[in-house]
Symmetry: C2
Subunit: 180 residues, 2 copies
DNA sequence: GGGACCATGTAAATAGTTACATGATTAA
DNA sequence: TTAATCATGTAACTATTTACATGGTCCC
């Protein structure tokens, strides 16, 4: 049940709708976290019943919009969770399974997989570096830019590592390909 | 439905029991993949019905042991899967969520979380380096050591990156701690 | 005899994704 | 007017973990 804490964390910046919360998670946490509407909406309802959030329906502009704001109780719960030692570190890297068993397919196939991997992580790195620049430039209303930059730094450092690995491995498969 | 392919991959090295398959996954894939008995046993049964594996019950030594071996059909299915572009790259790094929202807790708390993270990844790095040394020393009956070493190399490179990040961040929180 | 580990499995709970339904608004 | 996007939500499905039940063997 981590979803709720992610939502609460975002709500500390102000009331939001489920829809926007999803967008925020996609935008900011894309590279290390994800949530779907099927989790977000029910979770907000549950937290409402528990008094962790308040609901503000506004039918202004005739479009139904339901914002949630964090309550004192919710904020306390968030702080308690933040202080608990992190448990989950879930990686599931299909590419590594495929490399592990790659002796059963030909080198070209692996080169293709790795080229895609490389492209994805180059793009990721690009985006993270752009984010970084922007954060250093703009204002810091919630005084959390240092924290956000630390998370971005994680992404940049690990992507560099992934790319170095990938580069080396592509070369290995290329050599193999020419030999066989 | 990736479980089955991981099992099939391991079965290419020879028949195994569900119990041993679990041990192998824990040992070899620990850092990027995991499966539980609740997935392994039912999955082996399903593959049996589909003719992807064969079953060999041996009541030798009176202890019930059920080994499975990969069939021609199963091997074909494995090869097809290995050639498909990898989809899942699932990371769920609770530590990053906690860093992101760390302005709501004090620096000491974060230093503790990060110290644990650091210890875990140092241990991981140690183990991977030992594995690496050993693989370079011993024989290579399945001619897959290069592949295994590539996977280990991924682990070593990313752990170095994680540790560098962690070191830097601990220092940041230490400075903050003294200021506040 | 007891503890560690071998060995197989299932049931229930939890988690998470996907696909769908609904309808408003905006911009081309 | 039509496509995209805003916006909320649920049902069904799939995936995964956890806890438990069962019983054998090995070694001290």
């Amino acid at each position: 049940m981590k979803t709720r804490y992610v939502l609460l964390g975002l709500l500390t910046e102000g009331p939001q709708t489920g829809y926007i919360l999803k967008k925020l998670i996609d935008l900011r946490f894309k590279y290390f976290w994800n949530e779907s509407y099927g989790q977000i909406y029910p979770e907000l309802k549950k937290m409402l019943l528990e008094g962790w959030v308040d609901k503000h329906s506004s039918d202004q502009a005739k479009r139904t919009q339901i914002s949630y704001s964090i309550t004192e109780k919710g904020y306390e719960a968030l702080k308690i969770w933040l202080q608990k030692p992190p448990e989950t570190e879930l990686y599931r890297l299909e590419i590594l399974i495929k490399v592990y068993f790659s002796s059963h397919v030909d080198a070209d196939c692996m080169i293709q997989h790795l080229t895609t991997f490389q492209k994805n992580h180059r793009d990721e790195l690009d985006i993270l570096e752009k984010f970084q620049e922007e954060l250093l430039r703009i204002e810091d209303p919630f005084e959390n830019h240092e924290d956000v930059l630390s998370v971005i730094d994680f992404g940049i450092k690990s992507n560099h590592a992934y790319l170095a690995w990938c580069q080396k491995l592509i070369e290995r498969y290329r050599k193999e390909g020419t030999v066989k």
